[in-house]
Symmetry: C2
Subunit: 244 residues, 2 copies
């Protein structure tokens, strides 16, 4: 059996997330269907992790095992020919037999993009979250620094999480400004259900001055979801990178 690794870009807008579900349009299922059409083989596509409904990916990683001699250099374009434009396989490569997209994943980077213009953007409205109020970016950076390291992130997870442990490690956390956009960029070994969106919601309150940067530390330590900010919408969240 060959083991094929795919790097996949998608616009999450029209999908009920990565994971296969009956009767709901999802990214995993769409790609599995395309692979089957192209190769004639039914495969199980293993993603590095789920992304929720509406969340985008610049570079999601997934792999599948297949007994087929379909040429690797033609695989991306062939799969893409069977997909809508909102999903694009950017790269298909053959990897060693024991590579596993989820188990071998070391780091992931997510980005949450705030449109901080006064009136909001028309062109990028489906890929941003609009905050018209001025944001104190250095307060936001100070706050997010408290999250770096290994912590129990219970305060920043939505109920309904299946994972047993709420301990994760954040390696890097940055607030970046580009024009009128503000990006919250988090790199960690894994993220809980809605974790980036709840952190983003808390950071926006801190940016507006409704909370102090030090409250981020207190919220983290309290392990109490009700103290953190609201879960911001999915449309501004991007899975940027998965490292192995």
């Amino acid at each position: 059996m060959r083991n094929i690794k795919l790097t996949i870009e998608y616009d999450g807008k029209d999908y009920n997330g990565w994971q296969k579900q009956p009767n709901k349009l999802n990214i995993q299922g769409e790609i599995e269907r395309a692979i089957q059409t192209v190769t004639g083989k039914e495969v199980e596509l293993i993603g590095s992790g789920r992304t929720d409904a509406g969340v985008h990916a610049v570079a999601q990683v997934a792999n599948f095992k297949i007994d087929s001699d379909f040429p690797i250099e033609k695989m991306a374009i062939a799969i893409n020919s069977q997909l809508k434009g909102s999903i694009r396989v950017q790269k298909a490569e053959e990897v060693e037999e024991n590579f596993h997209s989820r188990y071998n994943c070391h780091k992931k980077t997510y980005q949450y993009v705030i449109d901080n213009s006064e009136q909001g953007t028309a062109l990028y409205r489906n890929h941003t979250y609009h905050v018209p109020q001025p944001l104190n970016l250095s307060a936001m950076q100070q706050a997010v620094n408290y999250l770096i390291g290994e912590h129990d992130f219970s305060s920043f997870k939505s109920s309904g999480t299946s994972s047993k442990s709420s301990v994760r490690t954040i390696y890097d956390a940055k607030i970046l400004k580009e024009g009128e956009k503000v990006a919250i960029v988090l790199t960690g070994n894994g993220f809980l259900y809605n974790m980036v969106r709840i952190i983003a919601g808390t950071l926006v309150e801190i940016g507006k001055g409704e909370k102090t940067p030090e409250e981020m530390k207190q919220i983290l330590e309290a392990k109490d979801r009700s103290l953190a900010g609201k879960t911001l919408p999915s449309q501004a969240l991007f899975l940027m990178n998965v490292s192995y």
Copy 2:
């Protein structure tokens, strides 16, 4: 009567262009309706020029005269409250009585954005035109240089143009690369019907090596539409700036 100048961003995807037409969703009509809802006055919104169906604007300019004391600092947000997110008034300012968006316009800049990645982008597919083949950007730049200056651009206009003269002046023409995107940026005193999209189509042929840069000069001089490249799709075209 007060004279109000608006700077407007829009995503052209769902609209039949700028110009008011009965029974077709259009940008001019939508904004006029919003102004009437907000101020109670029927106005005529004069744009710097039309943009075609599907074409976007980063900063279209328009003005209207109104007998109303509606506060100018609240006008943009009030008009936006009556519009879908795909149109945003970014600025509303009071200007002198004789300012006219179309007659006083000195320069316009348009940008045509090519996605030159191998597999195409999922996230920006509605704002780009995909060319998977390698493009020779210096050949494209050499070609577009022939267009700078005052010329009869008959070779680069679609039939159905109402304008009497096909003479226009291009002040600046640049091919810019940013990541896997290639932007064709043209600044001129005005553009004929489909002119930027036909120039872009000709430049793509030159970039792929199907035509030489020198052929751009021959096509220009021939004043024959049939010699130029095809009209590329509207979704990758942006009105970037209008100068007065």
